[in-house]
Amino acid sequence: MPDEERLIRRARECDPQALAMLYRRHVGAIYRYIHLRVGREDLAEDLTADVFLKMLEGIESFNYRGVPFAAWLFRIAHDRVVDYFRHQARKETVSLSERLSALGEGPLAMTEAALAGERLRQAFGRLTEEQQQVIVLKFGEGLTNAEVGRLLGKSEGAVKSLQHRALTSLRRFLEKER
């Protein structure tokens, strides 16, 4: 992706325009990924902001020839989410039912939908990092296999395979929960 390489080179010099373009290109996927993991809009916004501020601090040392830029951003997002959960676990132990009751007292159907959503989020969190990235880019951002492959530095076949493994693993995790 030579265009992205040029943008990154400019962004490393702290060029505001290049940074804004890179941000616009990836903010959707990163936000969706974090939102899928944490399930709360305000929290997803805070953590997304952290990711891009970290991107700004770290871009000088980013090596384009190593991991693709999108994968690098997903890694920062993953670490940030893990940090958040670790911190939460130390602070308090909140059970699933407590989290659901905090969502408000709606009709039973709403609570059931929230419960199903929460279970799906938890199962999503158990996938490998690569599987999570493919799921977000394919079903969240609606990208094709070729586009996902370009972003993550993988072949179309590898994306297809990751997608299948991700969905079967998700189904397995959800079945175990029942």
């Binding site: 804004a20 899928l36 299948h164």
Partner: protein
């Protein structure tokens, strides 16, 4: 083989769903995977436009601050290489006296002050300026000095162009850096002086932009990005100074202008109606 078959079937089915096509009922296993994909789509929400816009603004501001800090650290390193910063305050007075004695001799001082980049006495002029900035402790005087030195940089570019000499990249970078630093100092200057300082900066940046536009076609190709940056910094500083002046003045309610109209018309809106 069976796994490969399902993998492809799943992918084809997902692609058809992505395009909005309807699917015929198929194998149970495939259906459950497709349903799962659809549930993920349902709970995956995009960020709001307001959030995306706000965060972009924060990022751009942070990037600009980082850029400024980098430029500043370049100058600090440069100064450090000339003086040991830890001792600078102690020795500043002594150095000032020595430098004053040197400059007092014959026309060195005068000649140095009117020198431009490339002249043998130009480093003396720049050295004196740096020393003056280091010695002066009063923030208000320091800001006035910065304005004065930024004005000098602008005039130097004009003088180089008049002489038909090349305006080098380093001079343009310096102009942009000094303009930005001047703006930053004015923004934190004591309130009493701020408006006057902003007005001076408005006039100065107006002049700067005229000069930079004038030399645009004559600077070497490799210096063009620096010139564009200098123009951008100048124009941004101009706008920020004008906005600050406007913010600092009380709004006159519509229809009341005439009741208060004791000042001559040319004074009204001074610093506001430029551009």
């Amino acid at each position: 083989m069976v796994k490969k078959g399902l993998e492809s079937l799943l992918d084809e089915s997902l692609e058809r769903l992505r395009k909005g096509e309807k699917l015929e009922p198929s194998a149970e296993e495939l259906e459950s995977l497709l349903e799962l994909a659809s549930r993920i789509q349902d709970i995956s929400t995009p960020p709001t436009e307001a959030f995306v816009g706000d965060l972009e603004k924060r990022l751009v501001e942070r990037a600009r601050a980082l850029q400024r800090a980098r430029r500043r650290s370049f100058w600090e390193r440069y100064l450090n290489s000339i003086f040991s910063l830890g001792r600078v305050r102690r020795w500043a007075a002594v150095l000032a006296v020595i430098l004053a004695l040197v400059l007092a001799s014959a026309g060195t001082a005068i000649a140095a002050q009117s020198s431009i980049p490339g002249d043998p006495l130009y480093p003396v002029k720049k050295g004196t300026e740096r020393l003056r900035l280091l010695v002066v402790r009063d923030p208000s005087r320091k800001t006035h000095l910065r304005l004065e030195f930024t004005r000098r940089r602008t005039e130097e570019i004009e003088a180089l162009d008049d002489r038909g000499e090349e305006v080098e990249e380093s001079i343009l970078v310096e102009l942009a850096t000094e303009t930005e630093e001047t703006l930053e100092e004015i923004e934190v200057a004591p309130e009493g002086n701020r408006e006057t300082l902003f007005e001076k900066l408005v006039h100065l940046t107006e002049r700067q932009q005229e000069v930079l536009q004038r030399v645009y076609d004559r600077v070497p190709e490799q210096a063009k990005p620096a010139l564009e940056t200098a123009l951008e910094v100048s124009s941004r500083s101009h706008e920020r100074a004008r906005e600050a002046i406007q913010r600092g003045r009380p709004e006159v309610p519509p229809g009341q202008e005439k009741k208060e109209g004791t000042s001559p018309p040319e004074d009204r809106g001074k610093g506001r109606d430029r551009h």
